[in-house]
Amino acid sequence: MCKVYVLLSIRARVDRRYSRRPARAGRDGKDMDMAQYAILIYEEEPYWADAGQEVFDRTMKEHAAFAEEHASVLRGGSALQSTATATSVRKDPSGGFAVTDGAFAETKEALNGYYIVEAADLDEAVAVAKRVPARSGGVEVRPVMVLG
């Protein structure tokens, strides 16, 4: 099955909603200090290879519903194609590059999509993460690094 697994239509929806970022008021009336988290979706590729069109379509609907529901905190997200399409690029000792077929690490569950969400703290981010329709694996919540 050579196509995008999930989240296909999410990007457009998210982009549309960038301008609707809400001002969350804290107790003192000022905007609360917010942080961004990446919700990384790890799923079993064999599951998706075997899943039919019907499961795929249902999952897409679930992601669309998720994006709708969490539009106010979503700041980005994409689906990734399977690791069968991945290319790894590493520096090699001679100063050149080794370009090889496949993902960086062979694991049971592979990264196949992500969302970026805004949350006040980890508890809020985890609450959103619990709603991500990951079908076969799960999600990992990682704080986005703030630079500067």
Binding site: G26, R27, D28, A119, A120, L122, D123, V126, P143
Partner: protein
């Protein structure tokens, strides 16, 4: 400074040192929890609290031990923190600030006002819920709790868990970094999350108690320090959450189990089984307190895990002799416990109780039903319990083999001595 009403105008340095040590034990969590609210940084708060304790050593000699040492230390630590924050002396700080509810601004920009008692209570709960957050690795939750709630040094925490100090230091540093970087909030969870989050806290306190009550390895059967710390924490939670049945159950369990401490170890550190303990040496005050708490905890429906475990301990505590133990009641309580906490270890304890209620044959049958449990493979108590039933059935050769198996699986020196003694009695 608030609470400086001197109880004794000219205490000796030794008396002050002992008052400071006592306050360290009793008030560390209170002082640190309040200071974190000012610093929003765990390391900085720890430094300020240590500084306050160091100041107390000299200040209390000249001015007397204050009537409320915890309030004195809190004020001193918060002042130190505000001072450092104003001077910008904390720019070296590498971690982001803790996520916290807004602190009420000080009216005149002066030092923080004395918190009302309910605010103090709230801060200690913030601290323990942060230390026991599910996003922190379980072993780090225990370490952070000992360090931040009990005020143990990293070296002491390392000793408690028999790991090297650098290993424990790395574990604590990593956990603190995660709290800051992932923004684990310094907050009491909302009502809908409270039961599950409180379970995680009780789990940590229970693990501390269990580790102290039967040290998994080493020369001592009981790590008194850990037992005392777990008791302090359970009492603190009881004071802060007086309505909670789970807290009442855990405190009851610790009290009722620990009430047997003097009867449990004989001269030379030898382990004395419940059956052979001199019940006159049990701590009747702890038992009385524990039983009252069990009754309260059992009113909650359905009764929780710790309440049921405490109820089992209460049945033993109320039996005048081993022979008069109400084993039917014990088995019935285990039947309830195994429903809400279906662990093979609980099933094993239930099987042992069946052996006393219905005879060693029934007990052996119940144990053999558990033989296939993968979680019990390598668990010394299963072999030990089988050995005991086989011995009582007069099946000497099989009993010897089971004692030998139990010996292979036990690392606590005192438990090993006990098993070896039984084996010798059987001529093995």
């Amino acid at each position: 400074m608030a609470g400086t009403a001197a109880a004794d105008p000219a205490p000796t340095a030794a008396a002050v040192a002992s008052a400071v040590a006592e306050t360290h034990r009793r008030e560390w969590a209170l002082v640190l929890a309040a200071t974190v609210r000012v610093t929003r940084d765990l390391d900085l708060a720890e430094e300020c609290v240590q500084d306050a304790y160091a100041k107390a050593l000299t200040a209390w000699v000249s001015r007397g031990v204050p009537a409320n040492p915890g309030a004195w230390l809190t004020t001193a630590a918060k002042r130190r923190a505000l001072d450092l924050l104003r001077r910008g002396a904390t720019l070296r700080r590498s971690l982001p600030l803790l996520v916290d509810d807004p602190v009420e601004p000080e009216p005149d920009g002066g030092p923080p006002h004395e918190a009302a008692p309910h605010e103090i209570a709230d801060d200690r709960l913030r601290l323990i819920f942060t230390c026991c957050h599910p996003a922190i690795a379980p072993e780090a939750r225990v370490a952070l709790t000992l360090r931040l709630l009990c005020g143990l040094s990293t070296a002491e925490v390392a000793r408690a868990f028999l790991v090297k100090e650098p290993t424990m230091a790395a574990r604590i540093t990593r956990a603190k970094k995660k709290i800051a970087a992932a923004r684990i909030p310094y907050r009491v969870p909302p009502a809908e999350e409270l039961p599950a989050r409180l379970d995680a806290v009780l789990e940590v306190v229970h693990l501390l108690f269990a580790t102290g009550h039967t040290a998994p390895a080493g020369e001592e059967l009981v790590r008194r320090d850990l037992v005392e710390r777990s008791l302090d924490l359970a009492r603190m939670l009881r004071a802060l959450l007086p309505e909670d049945a789970g807290v009442a159950g855990l405190l009851a369990l610790i009290l009722l189990t620990d009430a047997r401490r003097d009867a449990r170890v004989a001269e030379g550190g030898r382990l004395v089984l419940l059956a052979d303990q001199d019940r006159a040496r049990w701590d009747r005050r702890a038992i009385g307190e524990g039983i009252a708490l069990v009754r309260e905890a059992l009113l909650h429906r359905p009764p929780g895990r710790f309440a049921l475990m405490a109820a089992i301990a209460a049945v033993h505590a109320e039996a005048p002799t081993w022979q008069e133990t109400d084993w039917r009641e014990v088995v019935a309580l285990y039947d309830l416990l195994v429903q809400i906490w279906p662990s093979p270890v609980v099933a094993l304890n239930r099987a042992v109780a069946v052996g006393f209620a219905d005879g060693p044959d029934a007990g052996l049958a119940a144990l053999d039903a558990l033989a296939a449990e993968p979680q019990l493979a390598g668990y010394g108590y299963l072999a030990g319990a089988r050995a005991d039933f086989l011995r009582r059935l007069g099946r000497t050769a099989a009993a010897q083999a089971a004692y030998r198996e139990a010996l292979l699986l036990t690392e606590n020196t005192i438990e090993r001595d006990f098993l070896a003694g039984r084996l010798r009695q059987l001529g093995g």
